[in-house]
Symmetry: C2
Subunit: 176 residues, 2 copies
């Protein structure tokens, strides 16, 4: 429904209609429209997790981490409206709950391997949070068309951001 009708078309009545039931059923099951959106939100992160789980691992942890980045970007491009529900807040009544850290477990795993191999340095959780924030920002900017007007410029900036961040995370300088 999100992909077809967009966000404005996602209404309790239409959801009920698609499910061949009445609105009361929706409210009985989800309590709120916020609860309904919450399920979409959570399903989005489950889908992302399934997506990242399919990635293969090589003997180059850093390349594997780059693959996670690429997969994340692709996920947002393929599911723009769902990504909006996940990372923006298109339904003002729904406030996102605790960070859906489970979805990023594959990313954290790659970070851990990079740390073990000495390709990155620092705290695992900190690095993961920084990377997720970077991906979040890049993907949102790209979706809004703010990252550049041409495909090449957008790609170039993605590459630059990822490369620069990985470069900068190679040396542990906590506290400096």
């Amino acid at each position: 429904m999100l992909a077809e009708d967009g966000i404005t078309g996602f209404t309790t009545r239409k959801v009920a209609q698609r499910a061949q039931t009445s609105t009361a059923a929706v409210y009985e099951l989800f309590g709120d429209k916020g609860g309904l959106v919450r399920e979409v939100f959570l399903e989005g992160f489950r889908l992302l997790r399934r997506n990242l789980d399919q990635l293969e691992s090589s003997d180059d942890p850093l390349a594997d981490l780059v693959r996670v980045v690429a997969a994340f970007r692709l996920f947002v491009r393929d599911n723009p409206v769902l990504a909006e529900v996940m990372f923006s807040r298109p339904f003002s009544d729904f406030a996102p709950g605790p960070p859906q850290v489970a979805a990023f477990a594959p990313l954290v795993e790659r970070v851990r391997r990079c740390l073990a191999a000495g390709l990155l340095a620092g705290d695992e959780a900190d690095i993961a949070h920084v990377l997720v924030a970077l991906l979040h920002g890049l993907a949102t900017q790209e979706s809004n068309g703010w990252l550049g007007t041409t495909q090449t410029s957008v790609d170039r900036r993605w590459a630059l951001a990822v490369r620069a961040t990985f470069d900068g995370l190679r040396t542990d300088r906590v506290g400096t």
Copy 2:
């Protein structure tokens, strides 16, 4: 109104009421609720620009750039709902227009000085875009409470992200 009543309280009727007029006046002037939100959106970036313009410049361009980052973070923290209108999309009908690059002119200016001083390397626009995307992501994550549970961890991750990115941007490696 945004700060007081939140996003759900921002309705055409209430706007008209606060302005001591009728809803028709609002529609005559802004055409749409999207148009109304657009003005708030643009005013937000103007306010951000005014905020960044007040920053002083020292003889350390990199420190000046860090100050811009801090000011941006403070802006989002001080105006959470406005920032949501600017960087998320709480009103589903309003689609943000072209990138409000003017607001980030002070940031671009600092980037240029860093490039001139050899403290950063690469394309000015590319670096600026990467930085804005990073700030966007970090600020949004912090607003959602996704960047960490304690103040110190959130601060630490902001610092790590900024330092790592600047470090990584010190050497130009375009095309590699």
